[in-house]
């Protein structure tokens, strides 16, 4: 893309994109650390995740402020306008992602006080790795402005749903087997739900990238994992 005639305008747009990428990096780290804190029963790490969330909130406000300023002062159109709008939308998704990571860390703190539940936390870890990877892929796609890469993330959201559903069944089996695990399993279930929603934010981001680059609204039916096709479907959550 050619340079803007007014260089400062181009610089401001680039700065906005760079800040979203930075915010994405932090959100990604928050998710990975939150999942690690669950797997390793690492109280210090969980606390760090909870504390760091304020930084994501501040970055979100900052990006929004800068985007509003750019829209007011530069009146961007076409691809520039989409870039400014996309930065605001991504900041919202990343801020929500951070909130969900914080929530996982808070639950990790509670779980750390009880008995270890190795096989279950390992399942959370696996799902966490998958979701982190998708978040990283979609943010890489944003930084590189690659539609295909973003769409690859969008097209595979059913993997996360599938993971979530199998974890749901696993937890249910545990709780039925030993009601004393209900408290811990409920926390784990919320963690799984949080991870699933982080996955949804990653697909939102993919849609935003698609719009930013192509100028077309993304219209498509997301591949949904159908619980009716799976064994034990009668106890699936959705």
């Amino acid at each position: 893309m050619n340079q803007h005639t007014v260089k400062a305008y181009g610089d401001e747009l680039n700065q906005l994109t760079a800040e979203v990428a930075r915010m994405g990096g932090l959100a990604e780290a928050q998710v990975a650390d939150a999942v690690d804190s669950v797997a390793r029963r690492d109280v210090a790490l969980a606390r760090a995740v909870v504390e760091r969330d304020a930084r994501l909130d501040a970055m979100h406000r900052d990006i929004e402020k800068k985007a509003i300023r750019l829209i007011a002062l530069r009146q961007p159109v076409a691809s520039d306008l989409r870039r400014a709008l996309a930065s605001m939308k991504l900041a919202v998704d990343l801020e929500r992602t951070g909130d969900l990571a914080k929530n996982i860390a808070k639950r990790a703190l509670i779980l750390a006080e009880g008995e270890p539940m190795q096989p279950l936390t390992r399942s959370i870890e696996r799902m966490g790795k998958l979701v982190s990877m998708r978040l990283r892929d979609v943010l890489d796609a944003y930084a590189a402005a690659e539609v295909d890469r973003a769409m690859a993330v969008w097209n595979t959201d059913d993997e996360v749903d599938e993971h979530y559903n199998s974890l749901f069944r696993e937890l249910l089996t545990y709780m039925m087997g030993d009601p004393r695990t209900i408290t811990a399993c409920t926390h784990l279930l919320f963690m799984a739900k949080n991870l699933e929603r982080i996955g949804d934010h990653a697909t939102n981001i993919a849609e935003t990238i698609y719009y930013e680059i192509t100028g077309q609204e993304f219209i498509g039916e997301r591949p949904r994992w159908n619980p009716d096709d799976a064994p034990g479907a009668d106890i699936g959550p959705n």
Binding site: N2, T5, P76, V77, A78
Partner: protein, 286 residues
């Protein structure tokens, strides 16, 4: 009717059919419907002596619509605008080739009187240019020389209606016989528009009509353009991209004497097809 020399004999709009040049407006733009084709330009080239200023421009201008012509200085947009009421005839070394039809008739045909053509195709310039006469006389001049009013009362009514339509009546009703040049810049521009519409034109060409005006006077002209759109085919040349986006339904982008892209204004300003258009509207012209 007095100005029917160019109309198709059967009164139909002979050029309203499908055009290969300008696609039909999209359904998404239904909120501001685009009228049938009023002016059809085909392979229009303009030469000033040896220098070619415009290269084979083909463009359909729809009726009851504002079409904005945008592009950097020297891109040919004003040159193209001037071909539509044969203003280039007045420049001795200027030559126009190609065909321009209004309602299906060649406006460059030998049988067409350019004076009558210009009554049908009015023009508003960058700088307001009222005659050094009274406000009343400025507006009454056209109808009088074209014999559009048979009595003083009829002429008074035409002057009042034109000033009202130009949104100027309330500001000048009590001083119709003061000089038009005593008005403010924005008022003068609206006076000139009143003068143009007094002869019941079908097309109004505007060449940067707001570039000499402050933002409030500009807003009034833009509001006026939006109202006039219901009755006239309007073509506006503007350097202000924001103005093109605000007032027009169709936009044509010119560069280096060529028509690069044309389409619904909404499309041009959100997702243009051509790279050069994108570069221009986003301020990336190198």
């Amino acid at each position: 009717m007095k100005f029917n020399i160019l109309r198709a004999p059967d009164g139909t709009e002979s050029s309203a059919g499908a055009s290969p040049v300008m696609a039909a407006p999209t359904a998404a733009h239904a909120a501001s419907p685009v009228g049938p084709t009023k002016i059809q330009a085909r392979d229009v080239s303009v030469f000033y002596g040896d220098k070619q200023a415009l290269y084979e421009v083909s463009l359909d201008i729809p009726d009851k619509t504002v079409t904005a012509l945008i592009g950097p200085s020297g891109c040919g947009k004003s040159t193209f605008l001037r071909t539509m009421n044969r203003m280039n005839d007045t420049i001795s070394h200027c030559r126009v080739t190609g065909r321009i039809e209004m309602d299906g008739e060649d406006i460059n045909a030998r049988t067409v009187d350019p004076v009558l053509l210009r009554a049908r195709v009015g023009m508003v310039f960058q700088k307001p240019n009222p005659f050094p006469k009274t406000i009343y006389e400025n507006v009454a001049y056209g109808p009088r020389i074209h014999g559009l009013a048979s009595s003083k009362a009829e002429l008074d009514a035409t002057v009042e209606a034109s000033l009202k339509r130009a949104g100027l009546w309330e500001e000048v009703a009590d001083r119709l016989h003061s000089p038009g040049t005593g008005l403010s810049g924005g008022q003068q521009q609206r006076l000139v528009i009143a003068r143009a519409i007094a002869v019941e034109p079908e097309v109004i060409l505007m060449d940067e009509p707001c570039s000499a005006l402050d933002p409030i006077a500009t807003a009034k002209i833009e509001e006026l353009i939006d109202e006039l759109r219901e009755r006239y085919c309007i073509v506006i040349v503007t350097h202000s991209m924001a103005q093109a986006a605000r007032v027009s339904q169709r936009t044509a982008f010119f560069h280096l004497g060529r028509l690069v892209e044309t389409g619904d204004t909404e499309e041009i300003f959100t997702n243009p097809r051509e790279r050069r258009t994108l570069d221009y509207i986003t301020g990336r012209f190198g």
